[in-house]
Assembly symmetry: C2
Homo-oligomer: 232 residues x 2
Amino acid sequence: MIANKDKSLVKWLGETSLFVGMEEQHLRKLSGIAMVVSYKRRATIFSEGDPGNGFYLVKEGKVKIFMISPDGKEQILHIFGPGAPFGEVPVFAGQSFPAHAVALENSRLVFLPRDDFVALVAANPALALNLLAALSQRLRQFTKMIDALSLKEVPGRLAAHLLYLSEKQAAGDHLQLELSKTQLASLLGTIPETLSRMLSKLQREGLIVIKGASISIVDREGLVDLAEIGKF
Amino acid sequence: MIANKDKSLVKWLGETSLFVGMEEQHLRKLSGIAMVVSYKRRATIFSEGDPGNGFYLVKEGKVKIFMISPDGKEQILHIFGPGAPFGEVPVFAGQSFPAHAVALENSRLVFLPRDDFVALVAANPALALNLLAALSQRLRQFTKMIDALSLKEVPGRLAAHLLYLSEKQAAGDHLQLELSKTQLASLLGTIPETLSRMLSKLQREGLIVIKGASISIVDREGLVDLAEIGKF
DNA sequence: GATTATCATTGACTTAAGTCAACCACAGAA
DNA sequence: TTCTGTGGTTGACTTAAGTCAATGATAATC
């Protein structure tokens, strides 16, 4: 870990959704307690049960947050890219990290140590409200995930994910899967074999056309129905 | 809705985990914006998609937060009793409620309107930190729920729930299911038939003894194993 | 006290999705 | 180049858990 107090970090932090609109003076203080750390692809950032002495922001790269069962099946909770904060739960709720974090690509992260950060939050209502908004947003996302896992079948979850990617990428009816299919299966709460079969099925049913990691939506309405109803 | 500014409400709010330790002056302000509202058993408090103009605290009674699929299957997210806050997500993240809330018993709730409350949070760092802790705790709980739904089978989830009740009720190896079995099935992400079969199975395997809603733990170690491994 | 509902249990059956295994395509290393 | 590892696909099979239906047991209402 290398402390980094240069001006560019202050600027970058101020553009982050968590810290947007904060006063220069507070941003400099924040920058003063921040450490920039690097992780190679596949490196573990923290594991479930580790004590949480601070949290992270993705500066460059991509990070996955996941749980794993005793027999090795993985469930991805989040994929975080530049600007996203993660690992905040133990900062505010105490106790240890509830899940694992590894770098999916070579990544640079900003680490914010707990105690200094909490003091900053206490002194800065706008920051507190931004954090409350971020955690609430996360809760909303988890609610959707529980809904999907419990009440929708794999094709429904897949359809919802394709629509989500389509909206995010805003490239009409064309979209790119942003993860390997193995990782996507883990994000959707299934296994690669099942994902492969369901992608084929959506294509066979005339909803999409698949070219590797590129997908074209052919019948958007059909996908929306599938995502809402949750099954064929 | 009836505004209620009496002293007892101030006192009650001050004993709530969210507002514990707040200055009298702020508690009185809080009390000033609070409304006490009553809901009969089975009454809807809000529905998914409703705009969230504030949030609630359970004063008396019991509330369930749940989602429902188009064909009527229900997934319970939380059961909240006295002192617990709920419905905060739209207050901080904007948008509408992500799930439904109904009263499980005749209940009295404290409603806190959004705008006044946000102003109070902004002026009160200790309150902000309490809220951050509450939301983080909620995230931790959702993480466990996703883990259970995705990586554990029904017997494992049931075992974990029985151990949770046993710890909460602190009555040795004896515990009471606090919900009807239909509701418990919905909380565990399954259906009553399956829950019934799995309870029988745990009894047949010598892990528990069932007498209606009373359960005695016979083989605690076996239950712990089952809860951790997630399946037989 | 009789009559509806609601809840719980059990059996027979179906089905979504997981397991296991084989195979292919491709990329990076030796 | 050839090897080795990783990721993806497909087929045959198994299985956990859901569906449907019948029956009992309470509990709530008239």
